[in-house]
Symmetry: C2
Subunit: 388 residues, 2 copies
């Protein structure tokens, strides 16, 4: 087990109807509120109305239309709103994109420089606007961590950033708010959780048994409850377990003590920047290909552990047989249970820019992806090609 620092100060209100406590929760946060949200599904669901009624004594400002891969333009617009209106608190209502965008705004508002510079190098941040979030899509875990990802379309770049000041102060996780999600978004969220777990779990650190067990637990949760929510979107047991597993997966609990590479995310972020594809869908396409590409004598044992402890494959089988079966089961889960395409072609991405994107993916990791297995530019091209 590696040494680590664990510090997750976000206060979580979890459970049915918890969003109805918003008025009470917001009392201590001042009067000027910037409400950040996405495409407007919160208006259809009635959540917008409930929020506005609960906060009728506040001065409400709004930043709407935050995109699924949140863009720098939204961040810049949000910063202007914060600065011009002395915003006391950002209320982020949505999935990871809205929360990520809110974090970038929260930091950039007090950053001496432009917003993209903050995203590229947030280390000098010493103040941020506090964030309260209400999660309406489980997946990213952004509600309980201090990281975000922003797309700069002008230069086809998508970058992650993190700073301890950017943890939401409070996050409200009400599983019932995810009942009305479109099926493809539910699926992308489930794929996203699983992808995070793979990025965390597939590493070479030995002796971190607790962390391995945590990953197994959350993986089993996704495999158990994804078919349920795909079939019955208002199943509280399924929605609540998926929601809590998503949050705990990416609040650094599952990964502290491991060395993490985030190989597939590096490759997907570039796809997102070039083609604006859905994050979780891209990951679901790339991950099985990446698994097959890196499987060898040095990596097989972790695949065996995954296959036996999470997927229930017979441990008496030969190692590579277990590993290959586990990878195939993973891909089958994405395709058959989550109904996600298995090729880039199916989501409108062809091979014309594979080299260009591979270069960018490698650049974003300072020249090499140091994951479970080290990947160079040509490796990334090869993996994209497997996904064609």
């Amino acid at each position: 087990m590696n040494n680590f620092i664990f510090h997750v100060p976000t206060k979580v209100y979890f459970g049915k109807d918890e969003h109805k406590n918003l008025s009470e929760i917001m009392k201590s946060f001042g009067t000027n509120v910037l409400l950040v949200y996405g495409s407007g599904s919160i208006k259809k669901s009635g959540l917008y109305e409930s929020v506005m009624a609960q906060l009728n004594e506040k001065n409400m400002y709004e930043l709407a239309n935050v995109a699924a891969n949140p863009r720098l333009e939204s961040v810049v617009e949000g910063v202007t709103l914060c600065r011009n209106n002395n915003i006391d608190v950002i209320l982020a209502i949505g999935g990871g994109s809205v929360c990520d965008c809110s974090k970038a705004i929260a930091g950039a508002t007090y950053f001496d420089g432009d917003a993209w510079d903050m995203i590229m190098d947030p280390i000098s941040l010493n103040k941020a606007v506090p964030i309260v979030s209400i999660t309406t899509l489980s997946g990213t875990g952004s509600e309980m961590n201090c990281t975000g990802v922003i797309t700069n379309q002008e230069i086809n770049d998508k970058r992650g950033f993190r700073h301890p000041l950017l943890f939401p102060v409070v996050s409200i996780l009400d599983p019932t708010l995810t009942y009305t999600l479109p099926k493809n978004q539910t699926a992308a969220g489930c794929a996203d959780i699983l992808s995070h777990l793979f990025e965390i779990y597939f590493n070479r650190v030995e002796g971190a048994y607790v962390q391995e067990e945590l990953c197994h637990s959350f993986m089993k949760t996704v495999f158990k409850y994804s078919p349920v929510v795909m079939d019955k979107p208002d199943d509280y047991e399924a929605r609540s377990n998926l929601m809590w597993a998503a949050t705990l997966t990416l609040n650094s609990l599952a990964g502290s003590g491991f060395a993490q590479g985030w190989s597939c995310h590096a490759m997907q972020h570039v796809l997102g920047a070039f083609y604006n594809n859905t994050h979780g869908v891209g990951l679901a396409i790339l991950t099985p290909a990446w698994m097959r590409y890196i499987l060898d004598e040095t990596t097989v044992s972790r695949f065996v552990k995954y296959g036996v402890h999470v997927l229930g494959i017979d441990s008496n089988k030969e190692d590579f047989e277990i590993a290959n079966e586990a990878i195939q089961m993973t891909q089958d889960f994405f395709v058959n249970v989550l109904e996600i395409p298995s090729t880039l072609h199916e989501v409108g991405i062809d091979d014309t820019r594979f080299e260009e994107m591979a270069k960018k993916a490698i650049q974003s990791k300072n020249g090499v992806i140091k994951g479970f297995k080290t990947l160079y530019e040509q490796d990334v091209v090869n993996i994209y090609n497997i996904c064609k």
Copy 2:
């Protein structure tokens, strides 16, 4: 799954040699430090010297000899030291007793009333001395929660208290500091972790799969690594996994979403108040008896889950067969692996005060122990009698 609030702001530094960062960590906490510790093992191990060298620019005050079941007298003494010397931060070095005592001091220093009144009803606290802790014994999880237990010998009472202001601000968890523990303390710590997990896990809330899986993970960690540390006290992998499992077990992660009864703790706290027995040892004696006493048609399914998922008992067996086998394996683990006595008689407790203690245990829970199965006064007497 029940609704819950999850908020654990303690910053944890985990891993080998992390205690050497103390000087850096303490920089932001002012100059007047109250060092709280126990019997002096930190002097034998060299930790005391290292701490003093690192904090040579601070004004150090000391409260030593905090007992294994920390007493009100120590709290009162600590409060006087804090008030008289304008203490800026309490540095708690030890196991749960030292940390619990430090929390009581931290709260009572700013409490308008005497220390026992604060312990009985801390709700009005609005300020506390910040606590930095260095854990030298894994078990209680006190290093990452806001609860404590104090014994008032004058009235044979032992009470728990909690307040959000009493989380340690920073906790340093360095597994190597537990290498020098006497074998019986290591064993009591392992028993303590497992007892906490049982108190959390055995409840009637359905559909909290993530929480069940977390409990299974931490239970498996204890079963896997306890034999290792009993045999080889300086095994880093075993010590680190036990330490992290202990902390996560009682920082509210494993239990949030469950309804918890803490039945065995209610019964053990009274034993501790009357006989000053070792907490983890008392729990290891009481727990199998409690399990046998409450096993019936309404509780058996959770025992089956425990037996199958944690202990690997064949799921094809009949339910009560699995449950009884699981209970027997649990008792065997306490006796054979942890080398803990299986009767109260062996730890010097006879049946002369069972009725008196049962009354007290029930009183401490406002008249009834609402656990996995409700216990009244006579039930507690009966369980004590099974343990004779």
